[in-house]
């Protein structure tokens, strides 16, 4: 499966679709407080991370707050 994550192509060994939580596990994202995820420009609420499926070719944005003015 190939995904576009934060603007970069990434290949995953899983051939089947996976959910957002599994994807974050696969990316070794440990600190999840203050994160938000959008798939194909739609925000996926945290409450749906364990059920929402990511498909081959999807554009994934994973963001967090940082210093800004």
């Amino acid at each position: 499966m190939e995904l576009h994550i934060n603007g970069e192509k990434r290949r995953f060994s899983q051939s089947e679709t996976i959910n957002v939580s599994d994807l974050l596990d696969a990316l070794a994202v440990e600190q999840r407080r203050g994160l938000a995820v959008a798939i194909n420009e739609r925000v996926i609420p945290k409450s749906r991370w364990s059920e929402f499926l990511v498909n081959d070719g999807d554009a994934v944005e994973i963001i967090r707050a940082t210093q800004g003015g």
């Binding site: 994550i5 934060n6 603007g7 990316l27 070794a28 994202v29 440990e30 600190q31 407080r33 203050g34 994160l35 938000a36 995820v37 959008a38 420009e41 925000v43 609420p45 945290k46 944005e61 994973i62 963001i63 967090r64 707050a65 940082t66 210093q67 800004g68 003015g69």
Partner: protein, 261 residues
């Protein structure tokens, strides 16, 4: 003075100074400066997670619970990107507050008025409390109010320029047009710029680099706290009118005249 609150949509704040969190020498200076500024609302940016450094907890851990976070859409050039960034910020930070920025280009960082209005309309419809970073254009500022922005924030001069308020007369006009809070955002160089903004009737001042880039950020933060309080008090007290010729302050009756004059 505790009754004199800044009201933005459903939110109230005692402090009328809003500060950014960027470009400090380090976290310790940032936290000390924010503390000394007295700010309750602090801005943060929304950026892609660095997947190579995904264990970092970032700035959120330092600020959450102590301050009300105001995420921005800095770096967005289109309404579409700004709306998505705002929606991500709402999910990440659990807030409906958004500092809406839609800029036209990298060199001036000036707002793109058309895209800004489109984004503002969409975000208001989506339930956001929108604080819009705008040009110092009275017509644009009024339109932003009309589409439902909770606050309108005209720039004094370009972001990071430190040039102060280049067109105070526009600020006077904007003040008369707006019923929602008007905040100076961008261009602040030093404390007197903040005093002037408040004396022109701004409800608050938002700044970042003027504090973080000062030689002594913590001391500058204190200076801005005093400046905003001072300017607010002067605005409320009402300044005297300007006049071309002198008007003596001492009585003109009972003057002493020597003989021979």
């Amino acid at each position: 003075m505790s009754e004199d609150q800044l009201r933005v949509g459903p939110y109230s704040f005692s402090s009328r100074l809003l500060v950014g969190t960027a470009r400090y020498p380090n976290y310790q200076v940032m936290l000390e400066a924010i503390e000394q500024s007295g700010a309750e609302l602090v801005t943060v940016a929304i950026r892609r997670l660095d997947l190579a450094a995904s264990k970092e907890s970032g700035v959120l851990e330092l600020l959450a619970g102590r301050y009300t976070l105001l995420p921005n859409t800095a770096g967005c050039y289109t309404a579409r990107d700004a709306v998505l960034t705002a929606q991500l910020a709402r999910e990440a930070l659990e807030t409906d507050l958004i500092k809406l920025e839609v800029i036209a280009d990298d060199q001036t960082l000036l707002p793109d008025s058309e895209e800004l209005l489109v984004a503002a309309r969409e975000l208001v419809a989506d339930g956001f409390v929108v604080m819009a970073y705008a040009n110092d254009d009275p017509v644009l500022c009024r339109k932003l109010q009309d589409v439902g922005c909770a606050a309108v924030m005209p720039l004094g001069s370009p972001i990071g320029s430190g040039m102060g308020i280049r067109n105070p007369y526009n600020f006077q006009i904007i003040r008369e047009l707006l019923e929602v809070p008007m905040l100076l955002d961008a261009g602040v160089g030093t404390a007197s710029d903040a005093v002037l903004a408040m004396e022109l009737g701004c409800d608050g001042v938002l700044l970042n680099t003027a504090i973080s880039g000062a030689k002594k950020p913590v001391q500058m933060a204190q200076a801005f706290r005093l400046a905003v309080e001072s300017g607010r008090a002067a605005w409320q007290a009402g300044r005297i009118p300007r006049r071309l010729y002198a008007d003596p302050s001492s009585p003109s009756a009972g003057l002493i005249k020597s003989r021979g004059q």
